[in-house]
C-alpha cells in the first residue's frame, strides 16, 4: 500500500526536483528537519556506534557492495556533522520519531509515481536501541514481566519494526523493476536497510517466541498458576500454592493472558504467526495431556491393554473416564477455547478456532477411543451396567458439542462419539441377549431341595431388576439397534435367530424391542423352570417349586416400577392366575387322596356304618397325614405370604372335612382305647401340624 512511503526522504536528499513527489511531501521535509534537529541534540557518537554495532552484528554487511559502504560513510558523515554533544539516546524518544516517520509514510500512501527512499538516521539509532534491549532480555539482565512499561515499550518497538518492514518491503517491491540509474543507489540502500530491519525483527521475534513459550509453559506448574492473576509469571510465588483444580482450568491469570495476547499480536503483525501458533499448539497440547493425567487421573491405555485387563481393574478405570469426559465438556474444553480466543482475540478467529479445535478434537477422539476399546472387550453379564454408564455419558455429550468445537471438528467428534456410542450400545444389547444363553445353558439335573427358588431365578431376576434401573437407556439402545438391523440386514447378521425375529415382529406395535427381549427372557426362564419342575418325582412338589419361583418373579417385578412398567399389568395378572392354577393343582395332588378318606361315601351300607371300614379310614388318614406332614414340612416356601396362603387354604380344605368326619363318625368307635387308637388327632392338632408345613426342616412326629 505505501508505495511512496519513502519519497520524502528521497526528496530531501537527491530528488528534490522530482515533481511526482512534490505534492505530497510538504510535510515531509518538515518532519525530516525535525528529526535532524533531534538527531543533533540527542544522538552523537551513539548513532555512529549504533551503525557500527549493526554492522558488527551482521558481519556480512561489511562485504556489501559500494552502495552499502557509501551509505554507511554518508551516515557517519552526517552523524558526525550533526554531533555537538549527547545525552544517551532514548528508545522512547526515537520511537516518537519513528512514529512520525511512519505516519508520513502512510500519508504518502495515495500518491503514485516514481519516488525515492531516504533512510533517516534516527532509524539506525532506533534499531540499535532495540537491539540493546533484546540483548538485555536475552542475557537475563532485564526480565520479562519485571516492568510492564519496559515490556510494552519493547513490544511497541517490535511493532514499529514490523511496520517499517512492511513499508520498506513494499517500497522495494514496487521499485524493483525500475532501472533508473540514479535509483541504483537508493535501491541498494533499501536492500541494506531491509536486511538490517529483517535481522533485528528476527531476533526480536525469536525472543518473543521463547518468551511466549515460557510464559505459556510455566503455567503448567500448578504452583505457579495464579487464578487471581496478580503475578502472572513471576518466579518465587511458591508462597501461595493454589492447587490446580478443574475449576480454574487452564489456570492462567488475567495478566498472563494479556501478556500472551500482546506478544501474539506482535508476532502475528510481524508475519511470525506460524511460529506463534506452533508454540501455542505444542505447549497447550502438552499442558492439556498433563492435566488430564495429573488433575483428573486419566491415564491413556492402549486398546490392547484394555483387552488384556482383568475386569475388576478395568471397571475402576471407567468412572475416571466418565469423570474426565464430563469435566472436559463442562470445564476444560470451554476453558481451552476461551484461552485461545483471548490470546488470539484481535487477530484471526479462524486461527484460534483451528488451534483449540485441533487440540480438543484430538483429546476427544482419544477419549472416545477408550470407549471403543471397552466395547471391544469380551462380553460378560457383569459389564452391562458400566457399558450403559459409558453409553449414557457419550449420549449426553453429543448435544453440547456444537458449541464446544468449531464446525468441522464438531462434526468429526460427533461422528466418532456416535460411533463409539453405537459400539457400546451393540455390546450392551448383545450382553443383554446373552441372558438367553445363560438361561439356556443352565441345564443342571439336580432339583433344588424342597422346591425352593432356583438360583437361576434369583440371578436372572436380580439382574433384570438392576438392568431395569437403566430401562430408558436400554429401550433406547434396543430401538437404535433394531433400526440398524432393519437398515442393513443384508450385510449385518442378525443378533437373534429367525424364529425370534418373527416373534418380535409378531408383537404388537406398542411393544418396544427391549420389552420384547425382556418378555423373551421371561419366557425362556419360564420354560427352563418348567423343565426343572419335571425333575421332581412328586407333582405336588413341582407345583410348590413353580409357585415358589413364580411368586419370586412376580414379587421382583412388582418391586421394581421399571420392570413392572415394561412387563405390564396384564402380564402380572396372567402370572397370578398361573400361580393360582399351580396352587389348585397342588391341593389336588397333595390332598385329594387324604380328603377321600374323610368322605362319607362307602362308609355306610344300608344305612349302617361299617366299623372295619371306618377303622381303616382313620388308619389311612392318620398314616397319610403323617406322611404329608413329614415330607411337606421339609418343603420350602420362603415367601411368608405364600406360605400362609398355602397353610390357610390347606386348613380350609382339610379341617372342616376332618371336623365333620369326626363329628359324624367318632361315635361309632368304642370310647376309650379304641377311640384313642383311631382318632390320633383332634382338629386343632391337624391345624397345628399344617402350620408346620413348608418350613424347610423335617419335624418328624411329635
Amino acid at each position: 500500500m505505501e508505495k511512496n512511503l519513502a519519497e520524502h526522504s528521497g526528496s530531501f536528499a537527491r530528488k528534490a526536483d522530482d515533481d511526482a513527489g512534490n505534492v505530497t511531501y510538504s510535510p515531509v521535509p518538515e518532519s525530516d528537519n525535525k528529526v535532524d534537529a533531534k538527531m543533533d541534540t540527542d544522538d552523537t557518537e551513539e548513532t555512529t556506534n549504533s551503525d557500527n554495532v549493526v554492522g558488527e552484528n551482521e558481519p556480512k554487511k561489511n562485504e556489501e557492495k559500494e552502495e552499502g559502504e557509501e551509505e554507511k560513510k554518508e551516515n557517519e558523515e552526517e552523524a558526525v556533522e550533526a554531533q555537538p554533544e549527547s545525552p544517551p539516546p532514548n528508545l522512547e524518544k526515537v520511537s516518537e520519531e519513528i512514529d512520525q516517520f511512519l505516519v508520513t509514510l502512510e500519508n504518502s500512501n495515495n500518491s503514485k509515481g516514481k519516488t525515492t527512499l531516504e533512510i533517516p538516521k534516527f532509524l539506525v539509532a532506533f534499531l540499535d536501541l532495540l537491539e540493546q534491549k533484546i540483548t538485555k532480555y536475552d542475557s537475563g539482565e532485564a526480565k520479562w514481566a519485571d516492568s510492564l512499561e519496559e515490556d510494552s515499550l519493547f513490544l511497541e518497538a517490535v511493532n514499529r519494526v514490523s511496520n517499517l518492514m512492511k513499508h520498506f518491503t513494499e517500497y522495494y517491491n514496487s521499485h524493483r523493476e525500475e532501472e533508473q540509474e540514479d535509483q541504483e543507489n537508493v535501491k541498494g540502500k533499501t536492500e541494506f536497510m531491509l536486511n538490517g530491519l529483517c535481522a533485528i525483527q528476527q531476533r526480536a521475534m525469536s525472543f518473543l517466541e521463547e518468551d511466549f513459550r515460557s510464559i505459556i509453559e510455566e503455567s503448567r506448574n500448578p504452583n505457579k498458576s495464579d487464578p487471581k492473576g496478580k503475578q502472572p509469571v513471576a518466579e518465587g510465588s511458591e508462597s501461595e500454592t493454589p492447587t490446580e483444580t478443574a475449576m480454574d482450568f487452564p489456570g492462567f491469570g488475567e495478566e498472563t493472558v494479556t501478556n500472551l495476547r500482546k506478544i501474539a499480536r506482535e508476532m502475528i503483525a510481524g508475519g511470525y504467526d506460524s511460529e506463534c501458533y506452533q508454540v501455542y499448539a505444542v505447549s497447550r497440547r502438552h499442558a492439556f495431556e498433563d492435566g488430564l493425567y495429573r488433575v483428573l487421573g486419566y491415564e491413556k491405555l492402549s486398546i490392547d491393554e484394555v483387552q488384556r485387563m482383568p475386569w475388576e481393574t478395568l471397571e475402576r478405570e471407567i468412572p475416571t473416564w466418565i469423570n474426565t469426559w464430563k469435566e472436559c465438556l463442562a470445564v476444560w474444553f470451554p476453558g481451552e477455547r476461551r484461552l485461545a480466543e483471548e490470546v488470539f482475540t484481535t487477530e484471526a478467529d479462524a486461527a484460534a478456532a483451528s488451534l483449540y479445535g485441533n487440540l480438543l478434537g484430538n483429546v476427544s477422539i482419544q477419549l472416545v477411543n477408550f470407549a471403543e476399546s471397552v466395547a471391544l472387550t469380551k462380553r460378560a453379564g457383569e459389564k452391562l451396567f458400566k457399558l450403559l454408564d459409558m453409553f449414557e455419558t457419550l449420549r449426553d455429550a453429543v448435544p453440547s458439542m456444537e458449541n464446544l468445537f468449531p464446525e468441522d471438528v464438531a462434526w468429526e467428534v460427533k461422528t466418532e462419539t456416535t460411533s463409539a456410542k453405537c459400539r457400546l450400545g451393540e455390546a450392551a444389547v448383545l450382553i443383554f441377549c446373552d441372558l438367553e444363553n445363560s438361561i439356556k445353558s443352565e441345564t443342571g439335573k439336580t432339583p433344588v431341595a424342597g422346591g425352593a427358588v432356583h438360583p437361576l431365578t434369583r440371578y436372572i431376576m436380580n439382574y433384570l431388576r438392576l438392568a431395569c434401573e437403566y430401562k430408558d437407556t436400554l429401550e433406547e439402545v434396543f430401538k437404535e439397534h433394531s433400526k440398524m438391523e432393519r437398515a442393513d440386514s443384508t450385510s449385518r447378521p442378525r443378533y437373534e435367530g429367525e424364529e425370534n425375529k418373527n416373534k418380535i415382529e409378531a408383537q404388537k406395535d406398542n411393544v418396544s424391542p427391549f420389552a420384547a427381549q425382556l418378555m423373551r427372557v421371561m419366557e425362556l426362564l419360564d420354560s427352563n423352570l418348567e423343565g426343572k419342575a419335571k425333575l421332581y418325582k412328586e407333582v405336588a412338589l413341582s407345583c410348590i417349586f413353580m409357585m415358589n419361583n413364580g411368586r419370586y418373579i412376580v414379587q421382583k417385578i412388582k418391586g421394581s416400577a421399571e420392570i413392572y412398567e415394561v412387563m405390564g399389568e396384564t402380564w402380572c395378572r396372567k402370572r397370578s392366575t398361573e400361580l393360582r392354577t399351580y396352587h389348585k393343582n397342588y391341593q389336588v395332588e397333595a390332598w385329594s387322596k387324604i380328603l377321600s378318606f374323610l368322605s362319607p361315601k362307602g362308609l355306610t351300607e344300608n344305612g349302617k356304618v361299617q366299623k372295619p371300614v371306618l377303622k381303616e379310614r382313620f388308619k389311612s388318614f392318620n398314616a397319610a397325614f403323617e406322611e404329608i406332614h413329614k415330607t411337606q414340612s421339609a418343603w420350602v416356601v420362603s415367601d411368608e405370604q405364600l406360605q400362609s396362603e398355602l397353610r390357610v387354604s390347606i386348613s380350609a380344605l382339610v379341617i372342616p372335612a376332618y371336623r365333620s368326619f369326626l363329628g359324624r363318625f367318632s361315635q361309632y368307635l368304642d370310647p376309650g382305647r379304641q377311640t384313642e387308637k383311631y382318632i390320633k388327632y383332634q382338629a386343632e392338632d391337624v391345624e397345628t401340624y399344617i402350620d408346620e408345613l413348608f418350613d424347610g426342616n423335617p419335624h418328624g412326629r411329635r
Binding site: E64, N195, S206, E210, N362, E372, S373, T490, P493
Partner: protein, 379 residues
C-alpha cells in the same frame, strides 16, 4: 462411519452377497466355493501388484494401499462370512484361526491410532517447513529471513532425528530454562503430538500380530483356512508398511521383514514390496529417521541442503545461488502442499479402516456366537 463410504460399501457387499446366495442355491456349490477362494487370492495378488512402484511410501501410495486393503477386507468378508451357515465357521480349524484373526484385528487398531498420531506429528513438521518456505520466499532475502528459515529447519531436522527417542526424555528436558541457547532442539515429533499409552510399542504390537500366523498345511490349505491366512498376512503387511512410513512410538527392530510365503502367487507382490521397504529401512535405520514416508525423506534432504545454504549465507545473496535455492524452496513448498492436501484424508482413511475392521470383527463375532448357540444342546 462416513456416510458415503458406508453406503458404497453396503451396496458392494450387497452385490457380492446376492451373488453368493445365488451360487449357494445352485448345485455344485462346492466347486464354486473353491473358485471363489481362488479368485479371492488372485485379487489380493493383483491388488498389491497394481500399486504404483515409483512413488513407494508416498502419501498417495499409502492412500492407495489403504484402498486396496479395504477392498481385500470387503472381499474377504464376502467369501468367508456372507451367506454362509454359521456352523461352518465354528468347525476346526476355523474355530481357532478366526479368533486368532480377530485378535490380530484388535491389535491393528492400536497401530491405526499410533499412525494417526504419527501423522499429526508430520503435520507439525509440515508447519515448520512452511515457515522456512515463507521466510525463504522473501525478497530481498536478508539475514533475518534466512535465520528464521534456518531456525525452523533446524527444529524440523532435530525433530526428525528424535524419532525413536522416548517421549519421557524430551518431556523432561523441555521444562528448563527460558532462554537457554536455541529453542530449536526442544522440539521433537514426540512433543508435537499426543503420545500413545505408556510402554506401548509399535514394534511389539506388530510382533504380537505375527504370532500364530502360519500358512495352513495339508487338508486345511484348500478350505477356508487359506483366506483367513491370506487376510491375516495382508493385515500385518499393511500395518507394517504404515509403521515403516510414519513415525510411531517405539519401532526398533521392525526393519527386517516378516515371513510371507514367497512361492505363492498372491503373496509375491507383497513380498517384493516388503523387500523394497525393508531395504530402505535398513539404509535409514542407522541414521535414525522419522519414517520412510517419501515426502518426509525429501523434506529431510531439502532441509539439510537449505540449512547448509543458510550457514553460508551472506547478504546480499548471489544471484546464481539464489536461483538454485529458489528451486529447492519451490520443491519444499510443493511437498508441503502435498502434505497439506494428503495428510488429512489419509488420517480419515485410517479412521475408516479402524471403524471398518471393528465392524467386521463384530459381524464375525456375532456369527461365531450364533454357531455357539446352535451347538448348545437344547433343554
Amino acid at each position: 462411519m462416513p456416510a458415503t463410504t458406508e453406503s458404497n460399501q453396503g451396496s458392494f457387499l450387497g452385490r457380492i452377497s446376492i451373488r453368493r446366495n445365488q451360487v449357494m442355491s445352485m448345485d455344485g456349490s462346492h466347486d464354486q466355493e473353491l473358485e471363489d477362494l481362488e479368485l479371492f487370492q488372485k485379487h489380493v495378488g493383483d491388488r498389491f501388484s497394481e500399486l504404483p512402484a515409483d512413488d513407494l511410501l508416498s502419501i498417495a501410495w499409502l492412500r492407495r494401499l489403504l484402498d486396496e486393503f479395504l477392498c481385500c477386507e470387503a472381499e474377504f468378508k464376502a467369501v468367508v462370512l456372507m451367506g454362509r451357515d454359521p456352523s461352518h465357521l465354528a468347525k476346526p480349524p476355523l474355530d481357532r484361526l478366526l479368533p486368532d484373526l480377530l485378535d490380530r484385528v484388535v491389535k491393528s487398531l492400536d497401530v491405526c491410532n499410533a499412525v494417526t498420531l504419527g501423522l499429526d506429528a508430520l503435520k507439525n513438521l509440515q508447519r515448520l517447513a512452511e515457515i522456512a518456505v515463507v521466510a525463504l520466499h522473501h525478497s530481498p532475502l536478508g539475514d533475518g529471513q534466512v535465520r528464521r528459515a534456518k531456525k525452523a529447519l533446524a527444529a524440523l531436522l532435530a525433530a526428525m532425528l528424535h524419532e525413536d527417542a522416548t517421549a519421557k526424555a524430551t518431556e523432561r528436558s523441555r521444562s528448563f530454562g527460558r532462554r537457554q541457547g536455541t529453542a530449536t532442539a526442544k522440539a521433537s515429533p514426540r512433543s508435537f503430538s499426543c503420545t500413545m499409552a505408556r510402554n506401548w510399542s509399535a514394534s511389539k504390537q506388530i510382533h504380537a500380530m505375527l504370532s500364530n500366523l502360519a500358512a495352513p498345511r495339508g487338508n486345511e490349505s484348500s478350505g477356508l483356512a487359506q483366506p483367513v491366512y491370506v487376510m491375516g498376512s495382508v493385515l500385518v503387511f499393511v500395518m507394517w508398511a504404515l509403521v515403516a512410513a510414519v513415525p510411531c512410538q517405539e519401532r526398533n527392530g521392525l526393519g527386517t521383514h516378516f515371513p510371507l510365503p514367497r512361492q505363492v502367487g498372491w503373496a509375491q507382490p507383497m513380498v517384493s514390496l516388503q523387500e523394497k521397504i525393508a531395504e530402505e529401512w535398513k539404509k535409514k535405520e542407522k541414521k535414525g529417521t522419522v519414517g520412510l514416508l517419501d515426502e518426509i525423506q525429501r523434506m529431510e534432504k531439502l532441509g539439510h541442503s537449505l540449512v547448509e545454504f543458510a550457514d553460508s549465507f551472506q547478504f546480499p545473496a548471489e544471484a546464481d545461488r539464489l536461483e538454485e535455492v529458489k528451486k529447492q524452496v519451490q520443491e519444499l513448498s510443493d511437498i508441503c502442499t502435498r502434505m497439506q492436501d494428503g495428510l488429512e484424508p489419509l488420517q480419515l482413511q485410517i479412521r475408516e479402516v479402524f471403524h471398518r475392521i471393528v465392524r467386521s470383527r463384530n459381524e464375525f463375532l456375532v456369527v461365531l456366537d450364533q454357531a455357539g448357540k446352535l451347538s448348545t444342546p437344547p433343554l
